[in-house]
């Protein structure tokens, strides 16, 4: 029976798509659990080092490290952390939109921007624009290592030390929960005292062992590395969560379309049977 052949092939192809999206949903769900565990495992360290750095910003050190001194801003550096793959809803595009609006704001005040990207999507996006891309890493996989991003961070820190950039930011997605990921803009350098932080009273400074420069160099580099790494791990968890949600809604949509098409197909089939019967009956009556 030739009826509804197109509809049947269409239903078949949507079913195939649905199989794929459902499989991707399940893969993302299991990966999300793993990446989320990893994110939660490294969170205490980056929280603590952040706390120490904020204490440090309130100290009155004799030795002023370059990373602690605010300069007039002529050029800023941004590290953009994105995923390597697409099909994860609006995760990357929300992040890029936020970044872009900030960049435009800077450009209006004649501040130039240097960009380092982590992840293939960010590279594709900012590489396509006339942005000043100075560094890039991608394909770090689901278990990124700290040494993978050391190079790109060194690039930015050296630029900061040389004075070619005056501020350093990191942009990444924050994992709020499975349904929500928030694009965040975080200032890494220079380290300045936070207004909301409870004040540590009095004029005080740390005792440094062995000496201030060495310890602060080590600590501040470690701080930047750990915050960027945390951003990367967190972005990974976000990616899987966003993909899971996106694929779930894709599977649901496919299901809706299939049931609609099935209804149309059934109606057409029934109409053709009815027509055939009435033709036969009419034929018999004519005899």
């Amino acid at each position: 029976m030739a009826v509804g052949k197109e509809i049947r092939t269409k239903i078949g192809s949507i079913k195939n798509t649905q199989k794929i999206t459902r499989a991707m949903e399940m893969v993302a769900a299991s990966k999300m659990r793993k990446t989320k565990d990893r994110m939660l495992a490294t969170r205490p360290y980056s929280k603590k080092i952040g706390q120490i750095i904020r204490h440090l910003a309130q100290a009155n050190p004799e030795y002023k490290h370059t990373f602690l001194i605010e300069r007039e801003v002529k050029r800023v550096g941004i590290i953009v952390i994105s995923s390597d793959r697409g099909l994860c809803g609006g995760l990357n595009s929300n992040l890029f939109r936020k970044t872009l609006s900030q960049i435009i704001q800077w450009e209006q005040t004649n501040i130039e921007v240097d960009i380092c990207t982590i992840g293939a999507k960010a590279f594709g996006f900012f590489g396509g624009l006339k942005a000043n891309l100075i560094g890039h890493v991608a394909k770090l996989g689901d278990t990124p290592h700290q040494h993978d991003i050391v190079g790109i961070i060194k690039l930015m820190l050296d630029a900061y030390l040389e004075g070619s950039i005056d501020e350093l930011y990191v942009v990444s997605n924050e994992f709020v929960n499975t349904m929500t990921q928030k694009p965040t803009f975080e200032k890494l350098l220079p380290v300045v005292a936070h207004e909301l932080e409870p004040r540590l009273n009095g004029h005080w400074d740390y005792i440094y062992e062995p000496d201030a420069k060495e310890v602060l160099d080590h600590l501040l580099t470690r701080y930047v590395e750990s915050i960027v790494y945390q951003g990367l791990v967190e972005n990974n968890a976000c990616e899987q969560a966003a993909r899971m949600v996106a694929m779930k809604s894709a599977s649901d949509n496919a299901g809706n379309i299939i049931s609609e098409l099935q209804l149309i197909y059934n109606k057409a089939r029934q109409a053709s049977i009815t027509q055939e019967i009435s033709e036969i009956v009419a034929g018999a009556a004519a005899v």
Binding site: A41, T42, P44, Y45, K48, I49, Q51, I52, H55, L56, A59, Q146, L200, W204, D205, Y206, I207, Y208, E209, P210, E214, V215, L216, H218, L219, R222, S226
Partner: protein, 140 residues
Amino acid sequence: MTMTVHVDIVSAEKEIFSGLAEMIFAPAELGEVGISPRHAPLISRLKPGEVRVKVSETEVYPFYISGGMLEIQPHLVTILADTAIRAKDIDEAAAIEAKTRAEEALSDKSGKIDFTAAQAQLQEAVMQLRTLDRFRKRGS
């Protein structure tokens, strides 16, 4: 009541210890330091070695750390370890093996090995074993 200070020990992988203590001992770069509550602010690098947290007269928790940073505020002590292990979880066999390997590497005079790396490995293994040893002595 004795004075206490809040202690947090975190490694790159997880939070190891968080709570109040009467005194903390840590292997700072320039020698071991003992930290009482209301210590002056201090930042130091840590060498591989043993961190002991004295929670009360009878309760002392030993940890092994492979190096890291120490921050002291009068009311708060934070230890950021590269890796940290509770003393009772130290893998003795692995530590002994690492020690032998590092010693072999050091005695290899062909100059093919990275001397500083081997020395650091040896120090880590020795400190792990020492931490475990002391933990056992105290336990018995």
